[in-house]
Amino acid sequence: MAINWFKYSAPTTFYPLAGKLIPWFAASSAILFAAGLYLGFVVAPSDATQGEFYRIIYIHVPSSILSMFLYLVMAGYAALGLIFNTRLSSMMASAVAPTGALFAFIALWTGALWGKPMWGAWWVWDARLTSELILLFLYLGFIALHASIDDPRRADRAAALLAIVGSVNVPIIYFSVKWWNTLHQGSTIKFTGTSMQVTMQQSMFTMLAACWLYAIAIILMRVRSIILERERNTKWITELAEVKK
């Protein structure tokens, strides 16, 4: 039986579906956050060389992974919206951007917090931190461009083109920054010991899953408000129970 995927790409069907899904994602994210933080900050043993400071990686690593991955997700949705002219994809892209930027910011912040006890400086020009900073700039560019164009359709399309150019550029930027870093013999974050202890691994994955679910829940919430805002003049919106009230 063929499933009509395009049915779910229409805001009219997606809006109630997202509404039903959000509580599940939000609740499981909250549970996993609690479990992950408990595992990471209480159960997991302290690191041989880094002591207790290393525990910030349970926040730092998942947020940096998500910040990078969400950029690709955003660019993917934006490209879909640009090529197939599907409204929902473009709305998804603009819903992903702030969450991605938030994770990039958290990754930078926690990286700085980690750097202070490790290297004695809040900021070191480590290749990964620098790339993360540039990634944050790319997110901000996307958001700023989208915000400064009044016509939503032009904004979607222009920002989509920027996101695609950005995602093509990300590997080049990452490579060049890494190269620059090795030339200048900068400090690089390295894990002590090649194998992580099992509890450490478990808490890391729990936190990663928690962040994922959080991202999905918040993006769905944001896309729902974008749908309401963009489609405010359509009939189905005015017939929604929450709008009638």
């Binding site: 016509d151 939503p152 405010r232 003049n233």
Partner: protein, 202 residues
């Protein structure tokens, strides 16, 4: 032949027109009527392919203009509110560059002849910024004489023109129609050309 079927267009949240149909055959001229803000310019810009219509199709000689692309651009000419001329360049330079852009390099003698016909004798080599508004519009309209397009899309071509210039344009239009050309235009001034059909946007 230009054929528009079931065209709908909106700016922002505002629906300008919908279900619009029109047909323009060789030798025909059509005026788009409507109050300010009724979407005349948007319609013309949609016909040029600048704006993607919300619905509907625009076909030139039976094929969608989106698929034709440059082949369509080669057969049409658009004259907008803006003159598309450079202040720093002379009328002659402006005209020759416009012609070059359309892929039809123009020699100096032909360009001067076209400008003279537009009543710009003696001003061909002055920088356009010293010309009056009406004269600048004439420089822009000189493109009609040198670019060989079958479909003319003219948005308010008569702005800033004096009586003589309007008469001149009427003659140019009549000539174009006699040669199996097509014209679609908007204007708020009277224009005397035989056989004008009109389409009202309301």
């Amino acid at each position: 032949m230009l054929e528009v079927s079931n065209l709908a267009c909106s700016r922002g949240d505002h629906r300008l027109f919908s279900g619009l149909n029109l047909e323009l055959h060789p030798g025909q001229i059509m005026q788009i009527l409507g109050a300010n803000g009724s979407g005349k310019t948007s319609l013309l810009r949609t016909l040029c392919g600048f704006i993607q219509p919300d619905e509907g199709k625009i076909a030139w000689e039976g094929s969608d203009v989106r698929d034709l692309g440059e082949d369509y651009f080669a057969e049409m000419m658009y004259l907008g509110h803006l003159n598309a001329i450079k202040d720093e360049l002379s009328a002659l330079e402006n005209l020759r560059i416009s012609a070059g852009l359309s892929g039809l390099p123009l020699n100096e003698a032909d360009a001067i002849a076209a400008l003279r016909r537009m009543g710009l004798k003696g001003r061909e080599r002055l920088p356009v910024k010293v010309l009056s508004q009406g004269q600048q519009r004439r420089v822009a309209l000189a493109r009609l004489l040198v670019i060989k397009a079958r479909l003319w899309i003219l948005d308010e071509p008569l702005t800033a023109l004096d009586v003589n210039a309007v008469a001149l344009i009427e003659g140019v239009l009549a000539e174009h129609l006699a040669g199996q050309g097509m014209v679609i235009f908007t204007t708020h001034q009277p224009l005397n050309v035989a056989g004008v059909r009109s389409l009202s946007l309301s």
